[in-house]
Symmetry: C2
Subunit: 233 residues, 2 copies
DNA sequence: CGGGCCAAGTGGTCTGATAAATATGCGGTC
DNA sequence: GACCGCATATTTATCAGACCACTTGGCCCG
């Protein structure tokens, strides 16, 4: 008898696991093109509908990428691809969990900034400064937010750990920050934010990891404390 | 004109965003039951197939839960639900990215252990000790691994940040650790692991955060260094 | 009053057809 | 010979309808 039918869970779920396993075992390489939906469905002995659901699931997880008219491909499986879903967590979290997320961000961001202080190159530093000045040259919250994100993104990248940078990206996703900052910035936090950014920048220029860690922790901690107070009230 | 057709992306993608938005705006509460697939498809003006793909996507993301014969429900949207997909990252990462993941784990785990040292209760400490002794009472790698996971899980929980605990869970998912430890334990690392666990436990008993941080960092760092050497070779 | 049976409701799966986007190969033109 | 344009094949995206499997709640019978 054929042992390929353990009959656990739905057929779609099994298909997801099978494809994940194929990638895990190296039978499917990053960037490689998969057989067509129809062929895959036949191979796994399921209908095309179920196969499409499995593909859709792996697509939102950042494992596969479907190109209309072309085919289905394995992504590069880089940190950014797989951690894109992290933004969903930030977007759907509320109340106390927002504080927890900021706590995680504070821990990672402070360490990332410390690492960046030690490793950052002149080119990367110039890029950081570009966003810093752009942020100070305007009063448009949208533009500020955008450069703020890029500012921290560049620092995280300079830390040399792409995975950490991708996680921090998720923890700072646009909708997440916009939601928190709407109220935070109303309390005249612009000036303080600029001072904190300047402190982080000074530490980076001085290549002083401990100062960078402290400045980054304080920066995130400020928002964290404000949010904690908001929840409590 | 009808503004309900922005025509960006696939209809399934739009359906995913719509449902996510409904939850984000609070129109769908955690635990609440959704309309049937058929009704939802009609509401959004798409076919049932496309709606099913959207539901499947949100299901694997831990946002929705489909119960055969009963209906579709919003999950509790707790950290554990939404971060379950984090395990996929650990399972599909290889080479240098495994080191990066362990680096992230070292940072979070050391902080979590430090927090736990300050906050852990007697009951939680007893639970930790249970897994510690169980781990030392056997030579079966499977059982050891299982209690090792529970040991660290308990500590992360004691730190009081469920989100962090859930992330660490993903970073220590069964297949991930099994993959790394297969080779690690072959080098007679059992004894060292036991010493390190004992050191962590002592720090917890003494409620000494700094000692706990150092012990946890060293513990994860050991594996990290070993893996780094493996990659390089 | 309690237990088991039954039917309606609902998610799970399959099949087949059509539309839309892409890739391919051929022929022609310059 | 090279390049462009177009018809054609391939492939994903979407739709429609049917049937199966499981859950639930009420009804009937003992």
């Amino acid at each position: 008898m054929d042992e390929t039918a353990p009959q656990k869970g739905t057929v779609t779920q099994r298909a997801i696991e099978r494809i994940k396993a194929m990638i895990g075992e190296g039978r499917l390489e990053p960037g490689q093109r998969l057989p067509t939906e129809r062929d895959l469905a036949v191979q796994l002995g399921i209908s095309r509908s179920s196969m499409r659901e499995a593909i859709r699931a792996l697509t939102v997880l950042g494992v596969l990428e479907a190109r209309h008219g072309s085919g289905i491909y394995v992504t590069q499986l880089e940190a950014g691809d797989l951690l894109e879903t992290f933004g969903v967590v930030a977007d759907l979290s509320r109340g106390p969990r927002l504080v927890e997320l900021l706590e995680v961000r504070r821990i990672l961001e402070s360490t990332a900034t410390a690492l960046a202080a030690a490793r950052i190159t002149e080119d990367q530093l110039a890029e950081v400064e570009k966003h810093l000045t752009a942020m100070n040259d305007t009063d448009d919250p949208e533009i500020i937010l955008s450069h703020d994100l890029a500012f921290h993104r560049e620092i995280a990248t300079a830390a040399g750990n792409e995975t950490m940078a991708a996680i921090l990206d998720g923890l700072s996703s646009r909708t997440f920050r916009a939601r928190v900052w709407r109220g935070y910035q109303e309390e005249g936090a612009f000036a303080r934010t600029r001072r904190e950014h300047a402190a982080i920048h000074r530490a980076l220029v001085a290549h002083d990891p401990e100062a960078a860690r402290a400045a980054a922790a304080a920066h995130v901690g400020e928002v964290e404390e404000w949010l904690r107070a908001q929840i409590g009230s």
